[in-house]
């Protein structure tokens, strides 16, 4: 079990209110991802749930039980930190055993759980090393091992992969996703990374300045962003926004269209422009198009290799069905 419910939670540091009243429910077994720009309060929200920060007002409940005043260790949650936060003087074995030792588990039980965790995280050969003798990826696995053995109601991850290089990040991402599939434990995951959010989440929570802009599955957020902020934040490269006459044609203040929903055509294109930068990735080609009179730059994604280069004329056709419309208040028009 591990259903987490925040009810009108606020948090202020001194006079500054970082989290205005906020309601959020994360269901048991769900993989929830918090995304948002830097400083929007993702870590603060996670720490409120963990109990490392006190709420200024409002309640935090786990499995229906109010834990707002309960100490962090009694909430039954495990947290994995961005800097791993391993205990540098202890071996990997002792690091993983630490929460069990604090809980007073028997030696046999400790050994059994350490062996199981080490097995599933490929750490068996490193149990007698100190954290300083491990690579970044191994350290993060030890941190996860330490979180697993407590058998928590939920895991909290605060940008756990951001200190790893790109290749390792992909590997660890898969491992964590698999771990979730296997254990079915609630997980809350904070990240900056679009791809992590889209691939791992059951539910994405988009935050801006402490306010939840939208909650939904990755595909919901991609297909029907509630407002301009979410539309611009989810998806990579970013959605193109067009205002003025072209938007008025769709009876909207602003329209948005994703780069992958604009087709490059030989002739008879609705929009015409000049290629600024062409990025050839092999599988895709990204064009940054200038001089369309719609927006300063339009980003376009063409499948495969399209042999256009800097300075070439380009003709574009937006897919009408994929145009997102937004009103004066930046909200989506259904």
């Amino acid at each position: 079990m591990g259903q987490i419910e925040l009810t009108s939670v606020t948090k202020s540091f001194g006079d500054v209110q970082v989290i205005p009243p906020l309601d959020l429910t994360i269901e048991d077994g769900e993989f929830a991802v918090f995304v948002g720009p830097s400083g929007c309060g993702k870590s603060t929200l996670l720490r409120l749930i963990a109990g490392l920060e006190d709420t200024t007002s409002g309640t935090v409940a786990i499995d229906g039980e109010d834990v707002t005043q309960v100490s962090p260790s009694k909430r039954g949650l495990s947290m994995v930190f961005q800097t791993y936060a391993l205990y540098p003087h202890m071996t990997v074995r002792k690091n993983i055993a630490f929460p069990m030792r604090m809980a007073g588990l028997s030696d046999d039980e400790q050994k059994k759980r350490i062996a199981a965790a080490a097995e599933s995280l490929n750490l068996t050969d490193y149990l007698d090393r100190k954290p300083g003798q491990l690579s970044g990826g191994q350290r993060q696995r030890v941190a996860i091992g330490r979180a697993i053995v407590r058998d928590p109601k939920a895991f909290l991850f605060d940008e756990p992969l951001s200190n790893l290089d790109a290749a390792l990040r992909v590997g660890m991402r898969l491992e964590i996703t698999e771990m979730h599939e296997r254990m079915k434990t609630t997980m809350i995951y904070v990240t900056h990374d679009q791809v992590e959010a889209m691939t791992m989440a059951d539910k994405i929570v988009v935050l801006q300045a402490g306010v939840i802009e939208q909650v939904g599955s990755p595909i919901e957020l991609y297909e029907a962003p509630k407002n301009l902020f979410v539309a611009g934040f989810i998806g990579s490269p970013k959605m193109n926004f067009i205002e003025g006459e072209e938007a008025a044609k769709h009876s909207a203040k602003t329209i948005g269209i994703r780069p992958e929903h604009i087709d490059v055509v030989e002739s008879g294109g609705q929009w015409k422009g000049t290629v600024g930068v062409a990025e050839h990735l092999g599988s895709d080609t990204f064009f940054h198009v200038h001089g369309t009179g719609l927006a300063e730059t339009l980003t376009v994604r063409a499948v495969g290799n399209v042999a256009l280069k800097h300075g070439d004329k380009i003709e574009l056709n937006p897919r009408a069905a994929e145009v997102h419309r937004f009103d004066q208040a930046e909200l989506r028009i259904a």
Binding site: L52, P72, H89, P99
Partner: protein
């Protein structure tokens, strides 16, 4: 290979200087310890200048070993050094942990805490022995007299009088006496050197990783476990540094011992060396060599002990 020779060459002056710095005094001490050499002798004027013709072999060492104060001085040196180390490390850790938390007036408290360290040792000793520890005029004498007076007054009180009449009259302790003068030195040096320990430990605590602490809180570690498993191992190295530096300084305590009791009942090795050096340089040098050996034994022993208990 020439790319290695240059750095070596550049290091040489420093190394040579260090060697001269250490080896010449040590060599001279060794030399003097094997010859008869006194400052003043009417009967044997040839002993008043150092010369190989006055060779005495291990005679000086024998003389020192047979001196009634020698083993007492070693024992006393160890007692003083170990007690001071023990007290300063424990007090230092406790105070550093306490003032590491943010509170109003922390800056002032820190400055006040550090200030004893800037008092000169001789002044420190004079202050303590005359103004604080003196059994009549010092704070101790005044406090003991005050308590006695209070108890005396309470004896006449109605209900609780019976209880107070059971109390004996308190005697102030004379810290210049043979049995207690070492403790006077230990108290005053501990007072002076605790700030040093606090300073080093405080600096080290500032570099503690906050996320480790939070991880430990989530792992269910209470205040004591956090101290035992995070803070203490983190302080292992600074404790070793404090112990080493203080051991070096306190093995050579002199001013405090001179001022408290002029060595009466409380000699350490340096004081004994000083006494010999009034005339007998040979014996003083031999004692000096013993002091070097003792310092090395203490250093090795301390390092081992700290290494084992704290670094896991």
């Amino acid at each position: 290979m020439s790319d290695r020779r240059l750095p070596r060459l550049l290091q040489t002056p420093a190394v040579i200087l260090l060697l001269i710095w250490m080896l010449i005094p040590l060599g001279m001490t060794l030399y003097f310890s094997f010859i008869r050499y006194v400052l003043n002798s009417l009967r044997r004027p040839e002993w008043t200048s150092p010369s190989l013709s006055n060779w005495r072999g291990f005679g000086n060492y024998e003389f020192v070993l047979n001196n009634k104060d020698f083993f007492f001085a070693i024992q006393n040196s160890l007692l003083i050094v170990c007690s001071i180390l023990f007290a300063t490390v424990i007090l230092g850790v406790a105070i550093a942990v306490l003032i590491n938390k943010a509170f109003a007036g922390r800056g002032i408290v820190r400055v006040l805490l550090i200030s004893p360290f800037f008092v000169m040792p001789a002044v420190n000793a004079v202050l303590w022995i005359n103004m604080i520890l003196d059994p009549v005029l010092g704070l101790q004498g005044i406090a003991v007299a005050g308590i006695n007076e209070f108890i005396d007054g309470m004896r006449a009180a109605p209900v609780v009088g019976g209880f107070f009449s059971l109390w004996p009259e308190l005697e102030p302790i004379s810290f210049r006496a043979t049995q207690t003068s070492a403790w006077a030195v230990i108290i005053m040096v501990t007072w002076q050197w605790t700030p040093f320990a606090v300073l080093i430990f405080m600096t080290s605590l500032q570099s503690e990783d906050q996320q480790q602490k939070e991880a430990a809180i989530l792992d269910g570690a209470g205040a004591w476990s956090q101290f035992r498993f995070l803070i203490l191992p983190h302080l292992g190295r600074p404790i070793a540094i404090v112990v080493m530096i203080q051991a070096i300084f306190h093995l050579s305590l002199y001013a405090e011992i001179e001022i408290v009791s002029r060595g009466n009942g409380n000699k350490n090795l340096p004081y004994l060396i000083g006494e010999f050096a009034n005339n007998n340089i040979g014996a003083a040098s031999a004692t000096g060599i013993f002091a070097v050996i003792l310092a090395n034994i203490v250093a090795i022993f301390l390092l081992r002990m700290i290494g084992k208990t704290l670094m896991e």
